[in-house]
Amino acid sequence: MITEAELISRLQQKDEWAFQHLVKTHKDRVYAIVFNLLQDEHDADDTAQEVFIQIYESIHRFQQEAKLGTWIYRIAVRKAIDKLRSIKARNRLHKIFPWWMPTEEGSKNSVAFHPGVIAEQKEKAAALLASVRKLPVNQQTAFTLIRLQGMPYEEAASLMNMSIKAVESLISRAKTNLQKYLENHYTLHK
């Protein structure tokens, strides 16, 4: 069994075994974080790879103030947020110039890929995920990490570099917005 300090030291020396060990240990959690936020398996796979590439390249800057896991998941959240912002910007541009920018909005079928969706409640899950996508990025991140991924408030706040109070406020605003979006969703799909 290797200690965290030993693993970090070997990673800083670009040790192949240490990197493989790190990926093996954290890949599923990193993937779950980015998948829940991006709701697309290809984007999630791509972003999860980018997370590990960044870890490999910047491990020498890691100062052991936080746990290695926290540092990794913080990078995952940041990368997923960056990707989310670029997707949202792309979709906004698509609304203005539909002939210029292809959109990914219509092709999303996250319900089909999310293993946590309860079989008899696919319709509700689809409505919820579609509404979550409409939330502002910060609210979407807080809501996804806490309510869809079951993360404790303290951990989500630490990954988002925010206070617990700020995250609580984001969740409360997200809930108000979601209620509104869901009502609109069912009015449109009557």
Binding site: F52, I53, V117, I118, L128, E183
Partner: protein
């Protein structure tokens, strides 16, 4: 569904947070492949878009400057050349017929 019956909590319960998506077994292989590709291929500076576009602009600018200079010096030069040509062949001598 009736607007009043919509319960957010009920919708949230349609996804079980204890079951999370996972990657496949080939994730590390794909990751290594991508890292190797990234480190092997370094684009030569002269085919980088920034270099290509800026050199195109420089060439365009040089062309415009040369063309402008030519235009401004063109008229007197041409005139003196015509005069020289005319003098050489006595073309300016009017011949009464």
């Amino acid at each position: 569904m009736n607007r009043k019956n919509i319960s957010l909590e009920e919708h949230i319960r349609s996804i079980d947070p204890s079951i999370q998506p996972v990657t496949d077994d080939f994730f590390y292989t794909r990751l290594k492949g991508r890292m190797q590709q990234k480190h092997e291929y370094v684009m030569p500076f002269f085919i980088k878009p920034a270099f290509a576009i800026s050199s195109l602009f420089v060439m365009l600018l040089v062309n415009i400057i040369v063309l402008n200079n030519q235009k401004s010096t063109d008229t007197p030069k041409n005139q003196s050349a015509i005069e020289l040509f005319g003098k050489e062949y006595d073309l300016f001598i009017s011949t009464p017929y």
